[in-house]
Symmetry: C2
């Protein structure tokens, strides 16, 4: 392939001139620039990115670290980040860690090793401090959607607490009094916030948080399925269920079907996320919608600011919306309060 040297030779100028011309760092007389353009066209010259990167120390690429690209929520988010990055001339590396700490740290190492200029990080495994320590050593990192305690980098989250509160209020407004909670891992930021919102709504309505209605510990749909089956078999089963994610809701739906409980007739269900998946189920899920596009956009923009050495907002909170579909009804009269 032709190099900048060949072009310079053909145009009768130095390679400095060609380089500066291509990067708009010099004004040239029309005759000179025409000669350069012609030489470029003749040799079909394209700058070697590898060389440029070594010179500038920039890669024009960022990394996006997610726990599992196969989960629709993360895939949607990746798509949103990619769109915004594209708009700014950046390409993205997507790293699907399978929640493996080693792979998360490997991503951070790629940042250190100039694989990428910045990193948008999303992890849903509780940190023992090692990840936070590693992040502390790097610059140009942004946390998205999920917090890591003790990390001082820009963070972009949604209104988890408010969303869960509104979901629960929606069920209460329909007349439900026994509302179960299906949550993610204990100690995980979004998990805790969503639980707090659920509890707040109950409290505000004068209802108590009952241990028998709480099922927390994991985002796995299979565990959710089991939990729901057990719940349905209880002496006083709940009439409604708030699931902290669409993936959990899917497990719950399977469990309810197995237990012969009809949604929404015998059990109302509100979920959190609102991925396209939820709309495709039968019945379509009423859910708290996360603004995925906005999450991706704000996440990238915060990182972009960091990379430009400009101030980035320390904490962004994006609002959520209740989307009503078909999975909520009033409880059937059963002689219960």
């Amino acid at each position: 392939m032709a190099t900048i040297h060949d072009v310079a030779l053909a145009a009768g100028v130095s390679k400095t001139t060609v380089s500066r011309y291509l990067n708009n760092r010099i004004e040239l007389p029309a005759a000179t620039s025409a000669r350069i353009d012609a030489a470029i066209a003749k040799h079909d010259y394209r700058p070697n990115l590898l060389a440029r990167r070594l010179s500038t120390g920039k890669t024009d690429a960022i990394g996006l670290v997610v726990p599992e690209i196969r989960e629709p929520f993360f895939a949607e988010l990746a798509s949103a980040v990619e769109d915004e990055a594209d708009r700014h001339g950046y390409t993205i590396f997507i790293s699907s860690t399978r929640s493996d700490r080693g792979r998360e740290i490997a991503s951070l190492n790629r940042l250190r090793d100039h694989h990428v200029d910045g990193l948008i990080m999303l992890t849903n495994t509780p940190d023992d401090g090692s990840l936070a320590a590693e992040i502390g050593k790097r610059r140009n990192v942004v946390l998205l959607d999920e917090d890591i305690p003790g990390v001082k980098v820009p963070r972009v989250f949604v209104e988890n607490t408010e969303g869960a509160r509104r979901a629960t209020q929606h069920l209460i407004a329909r007349g439900h009094r026994a509302i179960a909670f299906l949550g993610g891992p204990l100690g995980l930021f979004t998990s805790e916030e969503r639980f707090a919102g659920y509890a707040a709504a109950l409290r505000e309505a004068g209802l108590g948080v009952e241990g028998q209605h709480l099922h927390r510990g994991s985002f796995s749909p299979d565990l959710a399925e089991q939990a729901v089956v057990a719940m349905a078999a209880a002496r006083t089963p709940p009439t409604a269920l708030f699931a902290s994610s669409d993936y959990l809701a899917i497990g719950a739906m399977r469990g309810l079907r197995r237990a012969g409980v009809a949604v929404p007739r015998d059990m109302s269900l509100v979920s959190f996320d609102d991925t396209p998946l939820g709309a495709m189920l039968t019945p379509a899920l009423t859910a708290i919608q996360q603004p995925i596009e906005a999450l991706g956009r704000h996440g990238f923009q915060a990182l972009y600011a960091l990379m430009q050495r400009k101030p980035a907002p320390k904490l962004t909170r994006l609002p959520v919306t209740l989307i009503e579909r078909e999975s909520v009804a009033s409880p059937r009269a059963r002689g219960r309060l």
Copy 2:
């Protein structure tokens, strides 16, 4: 950050020695290598990837081009390719093109510009020849799952025809005679193969392919939904349906629900892909399973061979499997043959 020069200085050797030692191109006495190791540890030295890449001309990264990362089939495939790439020390760039020809060509340009060492390409928009021409100019390209006519690079496909045939035979064996076909874009490789398999099964059973039962033209679930609603309203509706992809099947399920047709009681359904999505629906979809792991693995391995300048298999065909779930039953007696 420390450079190889600093390490060489500290260890009292030349940077050539350090470089060769690190790349296992030299045997050193224990004393020398210990000094180098100590110098590396002391300076916390990490080779600058950008510099190495410029020197070697390799990036140890490959690109994966898919139409839409949000569709579960592609997300699963991306995950499989990433796993295999990881095993060989490669990282991957995922590019979600939204079926935009410009973005597909941009990916090919990234290959030319040394962004990546190779490219695994998957496109589901019929080509007017421009993409094929562009691919012809590059080396280290592999086609996965979907063909582009006129391209002479290694290709890895599944047994589309055989899969569709078996799906259709499965319905015929259950007693169905009026079996509709829901297909993707005309002229698209997988689309045509799956249609051929469907038609072959009917022919072999002495049944005809009836125009009124064919709905082809797109992989969009929304169009599938409309088509199915229209179909259900026909004078002599089919009793079974073969959908060429899970995404189409989801649209079909929505349409059937809207039309008040119960699956599988009033309509049996077999799909193609078998993404986790299909197993989560109600009823769970009986489907032809694509071997996604194997697709990813063979796709990467073919590319790996190319990159090593070794011969790569020109065409790999992977077998598919019928997975029986809940969406197929025998047709109800209705006085029809």
